[in-house]
C-alpha cells in the first residue's frame, strides 16, 4: 500500500452557478484517520457523495492506491471497498439487526437465505464492536445509538478499504463514542483509510491523525493534528476567530417558573423534585437512555406522565397533551427536526406560523395575512434566518437555518419555559454559536430553559445548573464551580447499570 492510498485529484463539482467543490486535491494514507472539517455548505457533503458514487464530479478524479477510479454508482464504490456511513441511517426498522447488516447481499445456500450463517457472522461483528444487543433484535426497537452500531457493523461486514463517516457520534454518549473510537483505531491498525467528518473539536483531537479543512468548496489546508489547535481550526473554517465560544452565563435568576414534584413515566422515570427558575438554563446530562428523553417529553406534554405537583409561576396546571403544555407556556424543541420539527416540503413561513395560527394570527376562522407576514418577518429578522424569501421551502435550507425555523416556530408562541433536546445536532459551528446566543437572549428576557444534550462541552458551556440522570432518576445536581466533565461522568456512572442500548420504551 502506498503512502497516499486515497487521493482526490483536482475534484470540482458545481450546481448551477454555485461551486460546491473547486479544484480540491488532497490524499489520505492507508492506516490513517483524517478528520474532514468545514462549515455546512463548505463542500463536505458533496465530497462524500462523489467518493461514495452517488454523484459524479464535473472535473478531476479519485485514485485508490494509485489507480484512478470513477464510481458511477454507490454499488461500484462499495465493491471497491469504499464504505460510507451517513448521518441519516439507511436501515430497515422492520428487519432484524443481522438482516440489516447483510441487506443487499444476504448469504445464500442453493438460493435459500442462510439464516444460521447470517446470525453467526452478525454476532461476530457485533462482538467485535462491543454491541450488547442480539443479532435477532428488531432494528426499529433499538435506540439511535444502537442503530448507529448496526450501521458500523454493516460497514465492517464488507471488505472495507476506505471508510467515510459523516458525524458518526451525533447520537452517541461518551461511553459509546469511546467504543466507536476503539473500533476506528482497530480499523486504522488494519490499514483502513478513514475519513471522519465531525463538528466536534474534542473528538477530532482524540481520534484524528491529521485534519483537512474545506471552506466554500476549496481545500484550505491539511495539517497533522499536532500542528493545530481548536482556535487555528476554527479560523481556517470560518476565516475569522470565534472568540469566546459560549456566551456569558446568567448572574442572577428570578422566581421559580416551573416546579414539579413526584414526576414519573412508568418505570423509565422517577423524579422527586425539579425546579427551574426564570432566566436559568438547566442542563440535563447522563449516559444515553437514562430517562432524560422521558423527562423532557413529559415536561413538554409529548408523553403522558404522572405528577403530584406541576406548578408554572406558582400556579398548578394540568398537562395532558402537547396542546395543554403550549397553552401553559411551555415550548418544546425536539431532537429530530426533520421528523418532529418541520414540514420540509412546506415553506419557511408556513413552518414558522403553524404553532401560532390558532392563537395569534387568527381573524375569526381565517388566517390574517398581514399579521402572519409581520409575524414571519419579525421572527426571520430576530433569529437571522438566511432565506431567499419567506416562501423558500424549509427542506432547502441548511441544518442551522432549519433549526432556527424550529426555534422560531416555538418562540412565536412566546413560551415562559423552553424545553430543548439536542438543539445544535447537525448544525455547523457558526450557527451553533448563534443558537447559543438566542438561548441566552431568551434567558435574559426571563425564559427558563431545560437543555438536554449528549454533548458535555455544550452542557458545561451553556448550563447554569446541571442535573445528572441515571437509571431514570436524578443522581446529582451541580452548579458552576463543581461542574466538570469528570464530575458529571462520575455521577452518571456511579449508580447506573450498564448503558442501556435497548430502548424498552421504544
Amino acid at each position: 500500500m502506498s503512502d497516499n492510498f486515497l487521493e482526490f485529484r483536482n475534484v470540482s463539482k458545481s450546481y448551477g452557478g454555485v461551486h460546491a467543490l473547486e479544484d480540491v486535491s488532497f490524499s489520505v494514507p492507508a492506516g490513517h484517520v483524517r478528520a474532514l472539517l468545514g462549515e455546512n455548505g463548505a463542500g463536505k457533503s458533496t465530497l462524500i457523495r462523489v467518493l461514495a458514487g452517488t454523484i459524479g464530479a464535473d472535473r478531476g478524479t479519485i485514485a485508490l492506491d494509485g489507480v484512478e477510479r470513477a464510481f458511477a454508482t454507490p454499488l461500484e464504490a462499495l465493491e471497491a471497498g469504499v464504505v460510507t456511513i451517513y448521518q441519516e441511517f439507511n436501515l430497515v426498522p422492520q428487519l432484524t439487526v443481522a438482516e440489516n447488516i447483510f441487506l443487499g447481499w444476504l448469504p445464500t445456500t442453493a438460493g435459500w437465505i442462510d439464516r444460521g450463517s447470517i446470525r453467526a457472522r452478525a454476532s461476530e461483528i457485533l462482538k467485535r464492536i462491543g454491541a450488547t444487543f442480539s443479532p435477532d433484535a428488531r432494528v426499529g426497537d433499538l435506540n439511535v445509538a444502537g442503530q448507529q452500531m448496526v450501521e458500523i457493523a454493516k460497514a465492517l461486514s464488507r471488505d472495507v478499504k476506505v471508510l467515510l463517516m459523516d458525524e458518526p457520534t451525533a447520537a452517541l454518549n461518551d461511553a459509546e463514542i469511546e467504543a466507536l473510537f476503539r473500533i476506528i483505531r482497530q480499523l486504522r491498525a488494519d490499514g483502513v483509510s478513514i475519513l471522519y467528518v465531525s463538528h466536534r473539536m474534542a473528538e477530532i483531537f482524540a481520534i484524528a491523525d491529521s485534519v483537512t479543512v474545506l471552506k466554500d468548496g476549496r481545500h484550505v489546508g491539511t495539517e497533522p493534528i499536532s500542528e493545530v489547535t481548536t482556535e487555528s481550526l476554527v479560523r481556517m473554517m470560518i476565516g475569522r476567530t470565534l472568540g469566546e465560544f459560549y456566551p456569558p452565563k446568567a448572574t442572577d435568576f428570578g422566581a421559580p417558573v416551573l416546579e414539579i414534584g413526584g414526576l414519573s413515566v412508568g418505570k423509565a422515570l422517577q423524579v422527586e423534585k425539579l425546579v427551574l427558575r426564570k432566566g436559568e438554563v438547566l442542563g440535563i446530562a447522563g449516559l444515553e437512555g437514562q430517562g432524560q428523553r422521558e423527562l423532557v417529553q413529559a415536561i413538554s406534554g409529548a408523553r403522558s406522565f404522572e405528577a403530584d405537583t406541576f406548578l408554572i409561576e406558582g400556579a398548578p396546571v394540568r398537562i395532558r397533551s402537547i396542546r395543554d403544555a403550549i397553552a401553559a407556556g411551555i415550548g418544546y424543541i425536539p431532537d429530530d427536526r426533520k421528523r418532529d420539527g418541520l414540514a420540509l416540503i412546506r415553506t419557511s413561513a408556513e413552518n414558522l406560523a403553524i404553532g401560532s395560527l390558532a392563537r395569534r394570527l387568527r381573524f375569526g376562522a381565517v388566517v390574517s395575512g398581514s399579521a402572519e407576514r409581520r409575524f414571519v418577518d419579525d421572527l426571520v429578522a430576530a433569529l437571522r434566518v438566511k432565506l431567499s424569501g419567506p416562501d423558500q421551502r424549509a427542506g432547502d435550507l441548511s441544518g442551522g437555518n432549519q433549526q432556527k425555523l424550529v426555534f422560531g416556530k416555538v418562540l412565536g408562541a412566546k413560551p415562559k419555559i423552553l424545553v430543548m433536546a439536542e438543539p445544535t445536532r447537525g448544525v455547523d459551528v457558526g450557527a451553533k454559536r448563534e443558537i447559543y446566543e438566542i438561548i441566552r437572549e431568551l434567558t435574559r428576557s426571563g425564559v427558563g430553559v431545560v437543555l438536554l444534550s449528549g454533548e458535555l462541552p455544550e452542557i458545561l458551556g451553556m448550563s447554569d445548573r446541571v442535573l445528572v440522570m441515571a437509571n431514570g432518576r436524578i443522581v446529582a445536581e451541580m452548579t458552576d464551580p463543581e461542574m466538570s466533565e469528570e464530575a458529571i461522568m462520575t455521577a452518571a456512572t456511579a449508580e447506573a447499570p450498564e448503558a442501556g442500548v435497548m430502548d424498552d420504551a421504544a
Binding site: I326, L344, D396
Partner: protein, 325 residues
C-alpha cells in the same frame, strides 16, 4: 444553497412561468395541449357551446373532487364518495317522490348523511388508525349495500323540477351546475389556503408528527377533512341526480377513482401535504375534456379507461420524478 437576498424580487411574468412547471401548474399546460390538438382535429370541438357542455358534465365530479383533495392532502383517500352519491340520489328520489313538498328537509338530510359518512370515515382513520384505503373501502361497501336495501334493487320516486333545474338549467347560457361547481371550488380553495383549519390540514399532511408537536389538533382536523369530503359528495350527488332526473344505483359509480385521478392530475400529492383545490378542478376539466375528445374520436369506453389509467400513472410518475428532488 440559498443565501440572503432581501425581499426576493421576482417579476410577475417569471412567477407565472414558474407556476406552470409546478405540479399544480402542469395540468393547465395539459389542457392547453389537449385543446390545441382537438382544435386541429375538428372545427366545432373547441366551441363555446361544446366546452360549456363538457363543463356541465364535469360539475358533480368537480364538487366531489374538492372534498377528495382535502382528504388526500391529509395523506388519506376517500373511496366512499361515489357510494354517497348513489345513496343520496336514491334517498332523494324516494323521499321526494318528484314533489317539492319536503325539498328543504330532504336536501338537508342528504347533506347530513354525507357528513355522517365522513364522520364515520374520519373516526375509523384518525381514532382507530385503520388505513384510509381499507376504511373508506369498507364504508363504500356498506353504503352500496344500504342503497340496495333501501330501494329493494329498483329505485322508486323521482326528482322534482327544482333540483332538476339546478342540475340541468342555465343562467344567461351558463349551466347552473357549473356555476355551483365553480363557487364550491372557490369556497374550497379559500378554506384550504386561508383558514386556520385549512392551513393546519396542509401542514399535518406534510408532517403529522411536527404538526402534533406544534399544537395542531391532528385527529380533529383529519376527521373534519373526511366530513368535508362526505358533504361534498352529498352535494355532488344532488347535482348529479338533478341532471339525470332519477335516482339510480349506478349513479356514483367511478366517482371515487375519477376524483382521485383528477386530484392527482391537478398536482395533489398522494403522500399528503402538497396540492391545490383549483388544480383538482382543472384536473376534472381535463378528464372531462379528454373523455369527450376520445369519444369524438370514436374510442370505446374500454379504450377511454385505458387512456385515463395511463394518464393517471403518467401524472404520478411526473410528480415523483420531475417535481420532487
Amino acid at each position: 444553497m440559498a443565501l440572503v437576498s432581501p425581499a426576493a424580487s421576482t417579476s410577475a411574468p417569471m412567477k407565472m412561468l414558474r407556476f406552470f412547471i409546478t405540479p399544480s401548474g402542469a395540468v393547465w399546460i395539459a389542457i392547453a395541449i389537449l385543446l390545441a390538438v382537438a382544435a386541429l382535429a375538428s372545427d366545432n370541438f373547441v366551441s363555446g357551446d361544446h366546452l360549456l357542455n363538457v363543463a356541465r358534465h364535469a360539475a358533480a365530479l368537480c364538487i366531489a373532487t374538492v372534498g377528495q383533495v382535502f382528504v388526500i392532502m391529509t395523506g388519506g383517500l376517500d373511496l366512499s364518495n361515489g357510494a354517497v352519491i348513489t345513496l343520496v340520489s336514491v334517498v332523494a328520489s324516494q323521499l321526494l317522490g318528484g314533489s317539492d313538498q319536503y325539498l328543504v328537509p330532504v336536501v338537508l338530510l342528504c347533506l347530513a348523511m354525507g357528513a355522517a359518512v365522513g364522520l364515520f370515515n374520519g373516526l375509523i382513520v384518525a381514532k382507530l388508525g385503520i388505513p384510509p384505503l381499507i376504511g373508506t373501502l369498507g364504508t363504500f361497501g356498506i353504503l352500496k349495500g344500504a342503497a340496495y336495501v333501501l330501494t329493494g334493487g329498483a329505485p322508486k320516486g323521482g326528482i322534482p323540477e327544482s333540483i332538476r333545474y339546478v342540475g340541468n338549467g342555465t343562467i344567461a347560457g351558463f349551466p347552473i351546475s357549473t356555476l355551483c361547481a365553480l363557487a364550491f371550488v372557490a369556497f374550497g380553495a379559500f378554506l384550504l389556503s386561508r383558514t386556520i383549519f385549512g392551513r393546519q390540514l396542509v401542514f399535518l399532511g406534510a408532517n403529522p408528527s411536527a404538526a402534533r408537536l406544534s399544537g395542531v389538533p391532528v385527529a380533529r382536523i383529519i376527521i373534519l377533512a373526511y366530513v368535508f369530503s362526505g358533504v361534498s359528495a352529498a352535494f355532488a350527488g344532488l347535482l348529479a341526480v338533478g341532471y339525470t332526473g332519477v335516482g339510480s344505483l349506478s349513479l356514483g359509480e367511478g366517482y371515487n377513482l375519477d376524483s382521485i385521478t383528477a386530484a392527482v392530475i391537478g398536482g395533489t400529492a398522494l403522500t399528503g401535504g402538497s396540492g391545490s383545490v383549483v388544480g383538482g378542478a382543472a384536473g376534472v376539466f381535463f378528464l372531462a375534456l379528454l373523455t369527450s375528445f376520445l369519444r369524438f374520436l370514436g374510442l370505446s369506453y374500454s379504450g377511454q379507461l385505458i387512456v385515463q389509467g395511463a394518464i393517471l400513472a403518467a401524472a404520478v410518475i411526473l410528480q415523483a420524478r420531475v417535481f420532487r428532488r
